[in-house]
Structures are given as structure tokens and as C-alpha cells.
Amino acid sequence: MSKIGVFICHCGENISATVNCGKVAEVAGKLEGVAYSTDYKYMCSDPGQTIIKQMIKEKGLDGVVVAACSPRMHEPTFRKACSEAGLNPYLCEMANLREHCSWVHDKSDATTQKAIDIVRTLVEKVKHNKPLSTIKVPVTKKALVIGGGIAGIQASLDIANAGHQVVLVEKEPSIGGHMSQLSETFPTLDCSQCILTPRMVEVAQHPNITLMTYAELEKLDGFIGNFKATIRKKAKSIDEKLCTGCGLCTTKCPTKKIPSEFNEGLGFRTAIYVPFPQAVPNKPVIDKLNCQYYLKGKCKVCEKVCPTGAIRFDQEDELVELEVGAVVVATGFNIMTTSEFPEYGYGKYPDVITGLQFERLASASGPTLGEIRRPSDGKIPEKIVFIACAGSRDPAKGKPYCSKICCMYTAKHAMLYQHKVHHGESYVFYMDIRAAGKNYDEFTRRAIVEDKVNYLRGRVSKVYEENGKLIVKGVDTLLNAKPVEIEVDMVVLASAGVANPGSEELAQKMHISYDAYNFFSEAHPKLKPVETNTAGIYLAGACQAPKDIPETVAAASGAAAKVAILFSQNELSREPVVAVVNRSAPPLYSTCVGCFMCATACPYSAIGEEEIKDRKGNVIKKVAKVNPGLCQGCGTCVAFCRSKSIDLDGYTNEQMYSEVMALLNE
């Protein structure tokens, strides 16, 4: 026989104005299993809570129903009170008499009767409540940051500076990402490398950061606080401990004509290479796909010239397993290589280039040492056209979204061009100028007014070559709307920002969601912008959508803060509302028959297999097993289980069943 206490709250007059609280308490007191029942003006006040606590002790209550406001409001309050009086908090339930009864009905006997029905229902539920304890999940205070661009660098530094271990994984031989390729940055025109390289060095030297370059995530298992990551460290073919980074090998390597990724194909590199002079780590890797030795079995020039004997041709990929508590995904973006736009001639005409290529031309460390020279013949272009929205805002052929950064960098490009080629003429074809941001509109205005960049509002229909010139056919839609044809020396496409190739695969490895364009999805577009739907995995930067540097850095610091918050606790406490697969006596061991319909239905991939073994270790049967770290307690699995073998603590079959029975039986 249960000993349940029922506490009816008047909520001032919020409840008692329409519900006869005294009557409710009186009737509730007579219900089977109710040992004590009372009503009080403010149950949530200190004296109110004291009544509950006293009665738990005095009457030895084994269940409590507080009939007051919505449990969404005060359930934690009353559960805490019960807990303080020594009663398991999960033996306390709330009956919602305010939002669901007194506020929505007029004063009448029927309203009071409904209140009684609600209380009776919860009393029946509480009879079947079990003591539950919060689930404690230990937290491994080490973070994995995937991607070593400015987002990954910022996130790593912030987490490391908060005192936690970080492993930063970068797939290229150096960290730095797209930002290291940029010339100057808007809206201040300060040099990208100058502000980035100190951060890169800081990463390399930080005692809390382990840097793994030329490495990729192979697998991610586990759950918040307890991930197990497998990292593939691709063979660099050098012994990093011995290599001093002297660079002799890269100067002697006979294979010199490999298009440089860092220079976007506008320069060359060798087969053993450091992607750029400021690379971190500043040690070379051998590109096996282009190295003569790997291709033909002969060469080994680098091995001969290496003063420390650091070359290792037989090195193999290495798989490293890491235990981490949180993951920050900062894999960045890429730009559309516009094969979908044959009319712009990208790939056909060497002097039609992407914005990223223009960055390399404008960069002091680039292939032209910062002089704007066109790729075909090295001439300084006298006239240049910039095409904005090359692929963005184009549902027919490109991407329907706005790539956000192009308006600003196109203005910057035109400005840099005008600064470097004083007599040059520049044109920008645009749809709209989207320059929302601190000092952004001023910047684009400066390009137009001070640097005399010709902005033409209209689209380009075609770029073609005639007599060594590029003819840009477009339209100027303003005022005297007319078709325009401009003969130019170079065309720069502000290509749409797109998700990195392989991001879909990566998202699947991590079980995070992604949108139709393969950008990773945040848990909530407004209130959880750096969280993913998987607890413990956060997003930073342009892997989520195209972002500029300030926005990326802000997101990275936001993600780092989330990690630091997580790491501020030794254990995570979770509501024990999780699903459980039953156990029974042999020979059944569990009524679960292992059809795993629940596993396919689980939104969190929280259900796995468990082998039930006999004493000799032989597998008797395979049953479902819920990982309480991953389970979020939706109970979808419960409704699927044909044999009722899986149940949800807090909302068990018995509890829900008795609620239905009680509600309908006066």
C-alpha cells in the first residue's frame, strides 16, 4: 500500500478562484493509497515546501503529487524539495491545475471535478513511479578540433587557454586554411598572413595543443563526454623528429611542375614540399601521387640530400585512437569551380580566374609577389571585370543561397587592383551589394567613390575571347538599361562558397545533420548556432555556411566556450529519463527478441546490440541495448516494441497505462 502525499496549491487565487481547492484536497485524501492530503496558498513558497518536506518525514511518504502549475514551471523546484527531505525526486509528480484547468475554465463544479480527475491520474502514475537516480556520465576533458583554418585555430587556442587538452587535426600538411591564402582582409585591408601567422605559431607552441597535420578523422564513436575518435595520420614519408625543416630537399626535388594547391594552381611546387613558407609545422611531406620514387621506383634525391637522414619512404598511414569529451567541427568551405557556367569560360580561358586565385595574385607571398599579372602571359591587365554572384543566388544553375562574403571581397579585389594598377579600369557586375556589417558599407562605397571602381548592376551573359581580349557581354539594368560589352584583359569570378567535398561523408561519420547543400546543420538556427543535434559536437566557421573571418572567429570562440562549459564539470548529470531493455530469468534472459526495429527508429542511434552469454562465454542471444549517454528519452522505441521489452523510465508502460485508466474511471 502506497503512502502518497497530495499537496494542492491555490497559487494565490490563480487556482482557487475557479477550483475549490479544499474539495480537491478532501477527495484526494480519500483516494486509495493517499496517506496525506492538504491545500495551501503557495506551495512553491518556502513555508509551502516546508509542509511537503515535513510530511514526507512525518508520514513516511513514498510518493508526492503537487497539484499546482505546469511541471514545465516548477517540477525541478518540488523534486528538489522532496530530495532534500530524503525522498527520491523522481517519486514526485506534478498535476497541472493552473495552466490546464483553473486558467482555462470558469468557476464551476465541473472545473473542480476536472481538477480532481487530474490529481487522481497523477496519483495513479506516482504509484508506479520508481526511484531513479540521475545518470552520471564522466567527462574526458580533452577536445578534438577538426580543421586547422582560422576557425579551428581560434577554437583550439580558446579551449587550450581555458586549461584543457586539445587535439587539432588538419588534413593538409599545414594549418592556416583559406585565411592563409588571402592577401588583405576587408574592411581594414590589413594583411591576412600578418594577423594569422602569429596564431598559427601559438598553436604549434601551446603546451595544451597536440597538432596532427596531414591527418583526417577516420571514425567517431561514443557520446558526449566520452567520444572515441580514430584519426588517420597519412604517411608524410619523413621522420618529423629528425627533420629540421631546412628545406634542402624541396629545392633539390626534380619534380617541380606540380600545380600548387596553396597558390590555387597559379604556381608550382615540388613533390616533396611545404605548402607555403610560413607553414606550421614547417616540415615537408612527400606527395606520393607525384613523387618519382613512388611512381617509378627511382629517384630518392631527397633522401640523398637530407642532412639528417629524415626521409622515410616506407612510412605507412598510422591510425591513432583518441578519447575525447567534445568535438569542434571546423572543416571550412570551398568555392565552386564553375564548370556549371561554361558561358563564363572558366577553365577554358586562363585569364578567367576565381576570387581565391585573385587573392594569390594580390598576395605579396603569391606567385607574382603581389603584382596583378594575368596568368596567360604575365601582362598587367589594363581592364578587369569582376563578376559577383558567380553561382550564388542562382536556383537554375548554381546555388540558391547568398554566399555572403563575395560582395565584400569583390569590393576589396577591385580596390586592391586599383591600388596596384593606377591607370587600370575595373568593373563589377552585381545583383545587389550586400554589405551589412560594421564598416562594411563604408568600404564598398569607398571602392566606388574613392577608387573609381565601375559598379554595373546587372548580370553577365557570356565571356568569350576575341583577338586576345576577353569580351564580357552583360547588361546594365540601371536607368538607361542597355546591353554592355566590355573588352577586358582579365575576369574574376566571385564563385559561390560551397561545402567541402567529403563533408557529407564526414557528417555521417559523426552522426551530425547537414543541409541540402552539405553544410552542417546547427541545432537551432537562432538559439543554438554552434551546437549540433548531437550533444558534445559543436560547429565553428564556414563548414556551417559561408562566413567571413570575424563571424568565423566569433563562432569558433562560441564553440570553444561551449566546450569549456562542458569541461567545467567532472561528470555530466542527465535526467534519468532513458529507455531500458528488460531482463528476465533464464531461459529468456530478456523478452527482447533482437529484431532491432527500435534501433532503426531511434533518432539518436542510441540503441546497439548486446550479446547475452552463458558462463562459458557462448552467445545465447543478441538483444537491444540502450546507451544511456546517447538516449534522449523520446520513447519512440517503446511504442515500436512488439514484445514490450523496452521501456522508458519516467514514462513507463505501467505509468502511462495507469494514467489512462485513472483518468477515465471516476
Binding site: V593, T600, R642, S643, E654
Partner: protein
């Protein structure tokens, strides 16, 4: 037929399998399931149009599993059930040898579940027009009359659970009806319990049933419970596309499409 007998013999002789599940002569003019463990008994095997029992039901039975690895005589309904059992993780390819029987009574061997699926592509589940007509007729009744019709149909049910025992997909070791915490369905047979039992049975088969009619064939009272599952098959097809067991395809009810269409949710 000889082919089948020879194959069964050689499987037992070589000890590839320890039991052959097949059809043999039953009482009167009927056939029944037989379980052969000795090569010399294989001559008892037969196959003809009377063999409608779905033998796949034995594959998950504890008693049969104990006999060792089985070979099973599998006409199309059995093949469908085997495939569905595989989808539900109840069978592995290495668990059994399948002696497929084509509609022309030819022996077909399958080396993988994929091969069964490929074969079954030519034999999609099709609901007989006469059943469709019956279902339509029932659906055309006014709701009260329809309810009365079914209550009357279900009244003779005395919960022998033969329907459950005959169904290859009712393989749970402990059924919801045996659950008493809470007692979802009253154990005794009476109108409400009968109704609840059959609703539950049909729902548990939604999207899984392969339309073998074993339940109906097994029912001693001849209650047309197969109409329920057939109607649900139609519903599956109407709402979620073509139906049929398929390896690697999620069960209709444990999967979803964000664009699922309905017209009754406000």
C-alpha cells in the same frame, strides 16, 4: 520432386544440414510439416498445391533450432517470410539451406538473401481481386454496421492463438498478451479482449506481413483476420509506396519520410 528428395538426402548425408523441414503426407487428404533428420526418410517429402502451410514459422522455433541447421522447402510465401525474417535480424544466410520451389514446382537453390529478393521481384505480393472486393464492401458499410460486422466475426474467437503460432513473423518469446504489468489485453476471451487482440496483432504486422494467409488457414473458427492484414498492405502501398520484404530496406513502420502525406492531422 525427385530433384528435391535427392537434394534433401545429399544435404543430410553430407551433414550440411541436420534437419530438413518440408511437407509430407498428413491425415486424410491433407499435408503437414515434416522434420526429417535421416537421409532415408527423405522419400516422404512431397510438394503440391495442398502445401499451403508456411514452414518458415519453424525457423525461429526453439524446438526446431535444437535439431541443428535446417534445410527448408520454400515455395514463394516461405521465401517471402524468410526474407522478412532476415530483415528483422532473425536469420543469417549461414543459418539455413533454402530449397526454393518455383511455381512450376522446380527446385531453385539460393546462395544469398539477395538472390531470393531478385527472384521474388518477379513475384510481387498481389492482393487477390476477390479480397479487394470484400474489403471494399466492408469499407462501404456505415461505421456502426461495420463495427457490428467485425464484432460478430470476432465473437467466436476463443484466443487459442493459433493465428499467432502459425505466423512466421510472430516470433517474440513473450507476446504482449502475456504481459501482465500492465495487463494490456485481458487474458480471457470476450468481445473487448478479442477486438484488442486482433487490432494489436494487425498493427504489429503492419508493414511486415508478407500476405501468406497462414493466420487465416490456422484459425479453427475461420475468422477472416487476413482481411485486416491485407487491407493494411493496401494502405502501406497507398501511403508509402510499393511493399515487399527487401534486405537493407527499413521496415515501413520503423522508418519515415519527412514528406509522408496524410489528410487527417490538423
Amino acid at each position: 520432386m525427385n530433384e528435391l528428395i535427392q537434394k534433401a538426402k545429399s544435404l543430410l548425408e553430407s551433414d550440411t544440414v541436420q534437419v530438413v523441414i518440408g511437407y509430407g503426407k498428413g491425415s486424410a487428404d491433407k499435408t503437414r510439416a515434416i522434420f526429417l533428420t535421416k537421409p532415408e526418410d527423405c522419400d516422404q517429402l512431397l510438394f503440391d498445391s495442398r502445401c499451403v502451410q508456411n514452414l518458415a514459422v519453424y525457423l525461429t522455433k526453439h524446438e526446431i533450432k535444437h535439431l541443428g541447421k535446417p534445410a527448408i522447402v520454400a515455395p514463394i510465401p516461405v521465401l517471402r517470410s524468410i526474407l522478412q525474417l532476415a530483415v528483422e535480424n532473425q536469420l543469417k544466410e549461414s543459418d539455413l539451406v533454402i530449397l526454393g520451389v518455383s511455381p512450376e514446382s522446380k527446385l531453385i537453390e539460393f546462395d544469398s538473401f539477395g538472390a531470393i529478393e531478385l527472384f521474388l521481384n518477379a513475384y510481387k505480393i498481389q492482393i487477390d481481386e476477390k479480397y479487394k472486393a470484400t474489403i471494399d464492401k466492408i469499407k462501404a458499410m456505415p461505421v456502426s454496421e461495420r463495427f457490428a460486422f467485425w464484432i460478430k466475426e470476432l465473437e467466436p474467437c476463443f484466443k487459442c492463438y493459433a493465428c499467432r503460432a502459425a505466423c512466421p513473423l510472430c516470433y517474440c518469446p513473450k507476446c504482449t498478451v502475456e504481459n501482465n504489468q500492465p495487463q494490456w489485453i485481458p487474458a480471457a476471451s470476450h468481445l473487448l479482449g478479442n477486438l484488442e487482440w486482433h487490432v494489436m496483432r494487425a498493427m504489429h504486422l503492419a508493414g511486415r506481413c508478407t500476405d501468406c494467409e497462414a493466420c487465416y488457414n490456422a484459425c479453427p473458427m475461420g475468422i477472416p483476420i487476413h482481411l485486416l492484414t491485407k487491407s493494411m498492405l493496401q494502405d502501406v502501398e497507398e501511403h508509402f509506396g510499393p511493399y515487399g520484404p527487401s534486405v537493407g530496406k527499413r521496415n515501413t513502420l520503423s522508418s519515415f519520410n519527412p514528406d509522408d502525406k496524410e489528410s487527417f492531422i490538423r
